[in-house]
Structures are given as structure tokens and as C-alpha cells.
Symmetry: C2
DNA sequence: CGATTTATTGAATCGACTCAATTGATGTGG
DNA sequence: CCACATCAATTGAGTCGATTCAATAAATCG
């Protein structure tokens, strides 16, 4: 477990220097904590202290109403960061719970203060992460507000698939997929029963194969079409690689 | 038209110095543009160049599917900023359109580079803005995923009300309210017809008075209860005022 | 292996939608 | 300032996508 997924993801956007790698690797190896499956890492109302980096495993952000209605508002996959600079807020407005066993690295306020001054390329990469997460949250809003059950489910599977691929966690057309139908229901705003029927439809169309805890996507393009999926919001366009570290490394490092 | 609403909002969180005020005021007065009602300021696919600060008027972010389905994913009120550092992305994944006539100030990359080094308190304030916007987007996800039509509409009205109040744009229990029922439909994921019926319910309960382009909220607490509204996600808790500018101004200014 | 969680199926119901028509505002030009 | 046009709000009726409730089957875990 290391910062490998994070670095791989950030380098979609900014080409980081060996020094940047070292800094991220170090930050990701101090203060590591492990959690079991289905436990809370953070609870609504807690005072945020550190920024959490997911090293391995799946987790989710969720919010809950008094009567028990629960909405998963985002998934955390390896390499994801739970809100850069969250410690400037007084209290958490949501909870974070694990889905599988998870290991995280806690990143301190001091770490962010340090990179702010000395490692502007990492700061840029974190801004990119922040902006992409915001875009994902908007897309979820779109998903819940406008898409049908089938589109919505297909869309979510496309997103998770692409994010896993970016983190280097797919092999061929398959990946680990630990979400239960209840998780999918909480994330899509559908009932468990309807998620079940929707998945059956997707299977019948040959768009997904879901068995055990493995997902296969035999034809991503078709799944994307079924989900009216446009990947632009993931901003995986290698844009910032123009900010090539090789050129500026001596100065910044 | 000035940075008044922005400053008022940011000072809920960080107490800014006179120097900070001056910097924000200057940034908000250079490069001002005006738009009519119901026009696009930014279109999906555009290359983002500047960060937009809303000086006056209402706008919204929206996304659209090929078949025309449209989701408003956020509203912009005076003092709101359309994504700090957005210019690091290659292209916009959503559009921004006006609701009323709007005036905006364009904030350049250079402005952000400058404050990053020289005005850390403003940077902190902008991080707070970014985190609150992220929290709002999560709450919208919750709203669309879990709340009924009545709760959802009440919740949205509470949020807009509180945000307007924070910006200093309410008088007593009333405020300007330029949204049409079609706008509310696009924001809540409901049909226009159902929004109409839902508003009638809210009116019948005495929870809102909506006529002309004015909204009155005779009893905010009751409206909040109807919308299962918990304001924690707006993080209006004056937390950062501990970072009192008076103490550190000489050093930073 | 039994216990518990997860997935599946059927039937009845309901919240929200669509379609279509009407009423009420708002705004503009003559 | 009225007449007309347009946009926004309202109402009714019929429909449908997704829900709830309840029972069963299958998978996973200790």
C-alpha cells in the first residue's frame, strides 16, 4: 500500500518530479491507519483534523436523515483524497464509512502548509483533484435529477470503472466490485428492489457481468451509451502535462 | 455593484484586513462585464479562462443531455464565485447561464497567483468558499436522491433564503426571488407541473408566500422542518474569525 | 454446517409524470 | 394606454416508473 494510485491519478494531469513523488510517498507512509469493512472513519459532527488519503480499499461519503433515509454522495477509491484542507471547517457535515477493509494515510495541516510554499506543482495537482471531485458531485446531481433508473445505474458503473482504470485497478475488462445492491441503491437514490431489477436489465442487454464481487464490462462504449455517459467531467485529458516537471525540477526541488 | 456581498460572506469565516478588503475590491472592479437575463455566460466545452465573481444578479450552473433534459446543478447569487482556479482545467463540463441581468468581475490567473503568495488569509477564505460549495453540491445530491417533492422544494427554498441572508439580500422575511417554476423544476428534478402543485401545498401550509418575484418566509423554522433542513452544511459558523486579521495584518499586508 | 447477509421474485400501490387545455401575468409597440 | 403576443402559472385526467411489502432463494461467513 502506497501513494501509487494517487500519484498515477495526479500524473494524468501534472507531471510530477521525483522530488514530488518522494514527498507524496513520505506523506502517504507516515500515520497510516487501517479499518475493517463497514465501519465509520468519520462521523457527521466530528471536528475535522487531518485530510484522509485512501491507500487501499473502498469507502463512501454518506448523509443520513433522521428517519434513516441514507444517501451515498460519493465513493472513495484508492488514491482518492477526502477534501483537501477540510480541517479549516469546524465540523463535518457528512460521514465517511468503509465498504471494504481500508487503509488510509492522515495528512496534516502542516503538510499542506509546507507544499503550499515549497511545492506549487503538488498544490496544482491537488486543485485539479478538488475541481474534478466537484465536477463528479455535479454529475451525480445530474444523474439523480434527470436520468432514469437504467441510465443512472449504467452511468454510475461507467464512472466507477473509469476511475478504477485511472488508478490502475482494472485488469482487462474486469475489476473488483465490492458494492452490494443496497450500496448502489443508496448511491442512486433507488430502492434495493429496483436496483436489482435494473441490474437484471443491464445483464440481459449484455452490458455488464456482475458476479461474486467482480464486475466485467464487455463493451464500455455500449455501457456508456446506455448511461448517456460523457467522460468530460472527469477531466482525464492530460492537460497539465505541459507543466512538465523535468524542466522546472531543479528550481522547485 | 462591488465586492460587498463577497466580503460579507467571506467574513462569516475569516476576518479580513483592510488590505484584504482593498485587494478584493480592486479585483472586483477591474474587468466587469454585464449580461442580460437568460443568456449563457459560459458554455460546456469552452476553455475556462478567468474565474467569475457574481457582483449582482442571479445565475445558475446547468448541464444538459442530448435529448434536452436539463439539470440546474447550482445557483449563483451575488458574492458567489464560479470555481476558484477553474482555469487549470482544459474545458468546461457544464454551462453557466443568467437568470436575471447579471454583472460579473473576471478574476485572472495572475490574481490567484498573487494572493497565493502574498495574501494567505484570502486564500484560506477562498478555500472555505470552495469547501462550502462542495458541501452544497453534496446536499443537492442528498436532496434529489432522498427527499420527497415537498421536502425537496422546501429545502431548496431554505438554502436560497439563508444564502441570500448571508449576502445581505433579504429584508425582514422577504427577498427578491426571480426563479420561475421551470427553474425550480430544473433544479429539483421535478416536472414543472409537480413543482406548481408542490408550491401550492407549501402555500396552503403557510410556509411560503410567493408572488410576483418576491418570496416571503413567515416562519423559517417551520419551513426548515418541512424540508428536513439542517444548516450545518453551509458552515456559517464564524469559525475562522479566530484568524483575526487585526493581529497579523502588519506582517501579511 | 447453521446463521446471516445478499439477491431475487411477485403483487399491489403511489408519487410524480405526461399531455392538454385554460387562466393569469408581463411586456411591447402602435 | 390599450391590444396583442408571449411567457408563466394553474388545473384535470390518465399513465407509468419506481416503491413498498412480503416471501423465497442463493451466497457468504464464522
Amino acid at each position: 500500500m502506497s501513494s501509487a494510485s494517487l500519484v498515477r491519478k495526479l500524473e494524468q494531469f501534472v507531471r510530477l518530479s521525483p522530488v514530488d513523488h518522494a514527498i507524496l510517498n513520505r506523506a502517504a507512509s507516515e500515520r497510516v491507519r487501517r479499518f475493517g469493512a463497514r465501519v465509520d472513519i468519520v462521523r457527521e459532527g466530528d471536528r475535522p483534523k487531518d485530510v484522509h488519503l485512501i491507500l487501499s480499499g473502498w469507502a463512501c461519503r454518506y448523509k443520513q436523515l433522521e428517519d434513516g433515509r441514507r444517501q451515498v454522495v460519493s465513493f472513495f477509491l484508492p488514491g482518492d483524497i477526502c477534501d483537501v484542507n477540510i480541517f479549516i471547517l469546524r465540523e463535518m457535515d457528512h460521514s465517511i464509512g468503509t465498504i471494504t477493509p481500508v487503509s488510509i494515510a492522515d495528512l496534516s495541516r502542516e503538510f499542506f502548509d509546507d507544499i503550499a510554499v515549497r511545492h506549487p506543482r503538488i498544490v496544482t495537482a491537488f486543485w485539479w483533484e478538488t475541481l474534478v471531485n466537484a465536477a463528479i458531485q455535479r454529475e451525480w446531481t445530474m444523474n439523480l435529477g434527470q436520468r432514469t433508473a437504467l441510465e443512472r445505474t449504467a452511468h454510475l458503473l461507467c464512472e466507477v470503472w473509469l476511475r478504477l482504470r485511472l488508478a490502475g485497478l482494472t485488469k482487462g475488462d474486469s475489476c473488483d466490485f465490492p458494492l452490494t445492491q443496497a450500496d448502489l441503491a443508496d448511491a442512486t437514490g433507488l430502492s434495493k428492489v429496483h436496483v436489482n431489477r435494473t441490474l437484471q436489465e443491464l445483464r440481459a442487454e449484455g452490458l455488464v457481468v456482475l458476479k461474486g464481487k467482480t464486475l466485467s464490462v464487455p463493451d464500455l462504449d455500449r455501457l456508456m451509451r446506455a448511461g448517456l455517459f460523457n467522460s468530460n467531467y472527469l477531466h482525464m485529458d492530460h492537460e497539465g502535462q505541459q507543466l512538465d516537471a523535468a524542466v522546472t525540477d531543479a528550481a522547485a526541488g
